[in-house]
Amino acid sequence: MTLAPPPSGPVPWERDFALAMTRDMLRIRRLEERAAELYGERKIRGFLHLYIGEEAVAVGALHALAPEDNIVATYREHGHALVRGMPMRTIMAEMYGKREGCSRGRGGSMHLFDARLRLYGGNAIVGGGLPLAVGLALADKLQGLRRVTACFFGEGAMAEGVFHESMNLAALWQVPVLFCCENNLYAMGTALARSESQTDLCVKAAAYKVPTLKVDGQDVVAVHEAARKAQADVRAGGGPFFVEFQTYRYRAHSMFDPDLYRDKKEIEEWKTRGPLHTFTARLKAEGKLTEEQFLALDAEVAKEVEDAVAFAEACSWEPVEDLTKDVTAP
C-alpha cells in the first residue's frame, strides 16, 4: 500500500483555535504515554488501549460538536473523554481504579462515563455503541431536540451484524446520528483486507442510503472540516451521516499485544504522517507557532499530566461495603 503524502498546506484557522487543537492532541499523547509507563509500573491494570497516532480524529471531530450533543465511544476513548471536557485528573483516577474516577473505579480505562458531558461510554463490546447511538438519536427526535449523537467506532465494528442493523435503522428512521468510523486498518490483529470483502467502508454505509465522507484522519484540519460539514447536515435534519477517518494506531492494540501482525516499516511510514508533528510543522511554516512556543505548551501539558498522576495517587478506594451499590436503584 502506498501512503498518501503527509498532511500539508495552509491551516485555515485562527491562531488561537489552531493552538487549542494542538494542545488537545498533545494532551492525549502525553496522557497516554504516561499511562503506558504507569501500566509498566502496575499502577494501571486490566486492558489499556492507546489512541496514540489517532489523536486528530477525536480532537477534530469533537471540536465540531456542541455541548448538548451526545457522545458514544469505544474502549479506546481516553482522548474522547479528555477533549469532551473530562478533567485529566478524573480520567487518571479512573484508570487507577480510584473512587474519584468518573465511574468510581468500576469501569477503568475502557468505561469512561460522564452524564454531565453526555458521554455515554466507554463501550468495550465492538459495535455495542452503535444501536445505543441510534436510540439516543431517536429519543432526541421524538422529543424535538436538535441534538447530534456522535458515535465513534473502529472499522472492525463494521464486520459485526449490529453495524448493518444500526445503519439501516438510523437511515430508515432518519435519526440524527453522526457515525464516526475510526479506520485504523486493524481489528486487533486482523487487517481490513483480511477480514472484509469490501474494503471501501463508505460503500457499506452508502448501501443504506447514508451520505458519506472519506477523510484523512491524520490531518486534523481535514477531520474538523469534514466533521463540521457532517454534523451540520445531521443537525439540519438530514438524517444520519457516515464519516470514515483513515487513521493508524502507532501502538499495539492493547498492552497485551506483541504486535506481530504488521511490518515495523509500515508503522514507521505511517509515523511520517503523524497528526501532531505534521500539524505543528504547518503552523510553524505559517508563523503561527514557534518551536519555543511548542515546547512551552508541551511543558504545560506535562505539568497537567503529572498533576493528574499525583491526584490519582492520592485518591481513595471505594469501600468494599459499596460493592453492590448501584447494581439497581435502591
Binding site: 468518573c102 452524564a115 455515554y120 421524538l142 436503584a329
Partner: protein
C-alpha cells in the same frame, strides 16, 4: 370484569401509552400487523406510528435502540417477538442494559421494559419453544417478571415502566387466551411472590405458563385428600425468598415446577435457596418437575411428554408424602 390475558396486557399498554408521552412501543410487527400474538392490535390506529413503531427484523439493534432511547429520556417498551429471537439481542441486554448503572458508577440507568413471549405447548418445535427465563434471571442489574394471571398481565406493566432499571417481562404464549376475572384494584407490585392457593401438605412453587398446570395438579391432589399450596413466583429476579420460605415452613414439603430444562434451571436456584434458608423446616427431600432435557419435538404426544404436566406434578408431590 371478565377479560383475557391478551386483553389485559393490551389494556395495560394502552394505559401506559395514554398516561406518559415518553412511553412508546416498538418491535417486529407490533403496529400494522397488530402484534404476532395480537397483543398490540389496534394500538397503531390509536397512537400512531411514532409511538407504536414497527421495526425491521433486527433484534440486536432495536433492543439497543431501546436502551439508547431510555438513556435519552424516553420510556420505551420493546417487544421482542419471542424469547427464542431474544438470543439475537442478548448482547445488548446483558452487556449494556444490565451493566450501565454499575459500570458508570451510578451515573446512568436504563429505564427500559422488554416484553417477550416464551414457552412451548403449541407444536411449534425446537426453535420456537424455548423457556429461557433463567438466563435473564441470572443477570444482576435486570428485573425479570413472569405475569401468569390476568390481573398480573394488567397490573405489572405500570410498575415495570416506573422502575428506573431494565425490566424483562415474560409472557407465556399459552396464557394469552386464558380468561379470568379482573378484580379491582388490579394494581400489582413487582417485588413479591403470591400464594395463589392456600394449603398445608405440600408447597407447589411455580411461575408463568406452568401455573395453570400446577393448579390442575393441586385439584387432582385435593381429590386424593392432599391439600397443596400453590406459590406463584411472579418475580424471577430478585426472588421473593420470604414468601417461598414461609410456604416451605408451613407445608414442610416442596415441589418446584419450571418449564425450563432441569440443568441449571430456575427450579435449581429456588431449591438451593430453600436448602440454604429453610433446610431444617423440611420433612422430605425437595423435588422438581422441569422440561425433559431434549430439544422440543414437534409431534404432539412427544411435546407433551417433554413438558411439565399435572400428572408429573402430582406424582412428584405424592413421592414426598409417602
Amino acid at each position: 370484569m371478565k377479560t383475557s390475558y391478551r386483553e389485559a396486557m393490551r389494556a395495560a399498554l394502552r394505559e401506559a401509552l395514554a398516561a406518559d408521552p415518553r412511553v412508546f412501543l416498538m418491535g417486529e410487527d407490533v403496529g400494522k400487523y397488530g402484534g404476532s400474538y395480537a397483543v398490540s392490535k389496534g394500538l397503531l390506529e390509536e397512537f400512531g406510528p411514532e409511538r407504536v413503531r414497527d421495526t425491521p427484523l433486527s433484534e440486536l439493534a432495536f433492543v439497543g435502540a431501546g436502551i439508547g432511547a431510555a438513556l435519552g429520556g424516553m420510556r420505551p417498551i420493546v417487544e421482542v417477538m419471542t424469547v427464542n429471537f431474544s438470543l439475537l439481542a442478548l448482547d445488548q441486554i446483558v452487556n449494556t442494559a444490565s451493566l450501565y448503572r454499575h459500570m458508570s458508577g451510578g451515573q446512568f440507568s436504563v429505564p427500559l421494559v422488554i416484553r417477550m413471549a416464551t414457552g412451548a405447548g403449541r407444536q411449534i418445535a425446537a426453535q420456537h419453544s424455548h423457556s429461557l427465563e433463567n438466563w435473564y434471571a441470572h443477570v444482576p442489574g435486570l428485573k425479570v417478571l413472569a405475569p401468569a394471571t390476568v390481573e398480573d398481565a394488567r397490573g405489572m406493566l405500570a410498575p415495570a415502566l416506573a422502575d428506573p432499571d431494565p425490566v424483562v417481562i415474560f409472557e407465556h404464549a399459552q396464557l394469552y387466551n386464558m380468561e379470568g376475572e379482573l378484580p379491582e384494584p388490579w394494581t400489582r407490585d413487582i417485588r413479591s411472590a403470591a400464594v395463589r392457593k392456600q394449603g398445608s401438605a405440600v408447597s407447589l412453587i411455580t411461575y408463568g405458563g406452568s401455573l395453570p398446570k400446577t393448579f390442575a395438579a393441586a385439584e387432582l391432589l385435593a381429590k386424593d385428600g392432599i391439600d397443596a399450596e400453590v406459590v406463584d413466583l411472579r418475580v424471577l429476579r430478585p426472588l421473593d425468598d420470604a414468601t417461598i420460605m414461609a410456604s416451605v415452613a408451613k407445608c414442610r414439603r416442596a415441589v418446584i415446577i419450571d418449564e425450563g430444562w432441569k440443568t441449571g434451571s430456575l427450579a435449581a436456584e429456588v431449591m438451593a435457596r430453600i436448602v440454604e434458608q429453610a433446610f431444617y423446616e423440611l420433612d422430605a427431600p425437595l423435588a422438581r418437575v422441569c422440561s425433559e432435557e431434549v430439544p422440543m419435538p414437534y409431534a404432539r404426544h412427544m411435546e407433551e411428554a417433554a413438558l411439565p404436566q399435572p400428572a408429573k406434578i402430582v406424582a412428584a408431590a405424592k413421592g414426598l408424602l409417602r
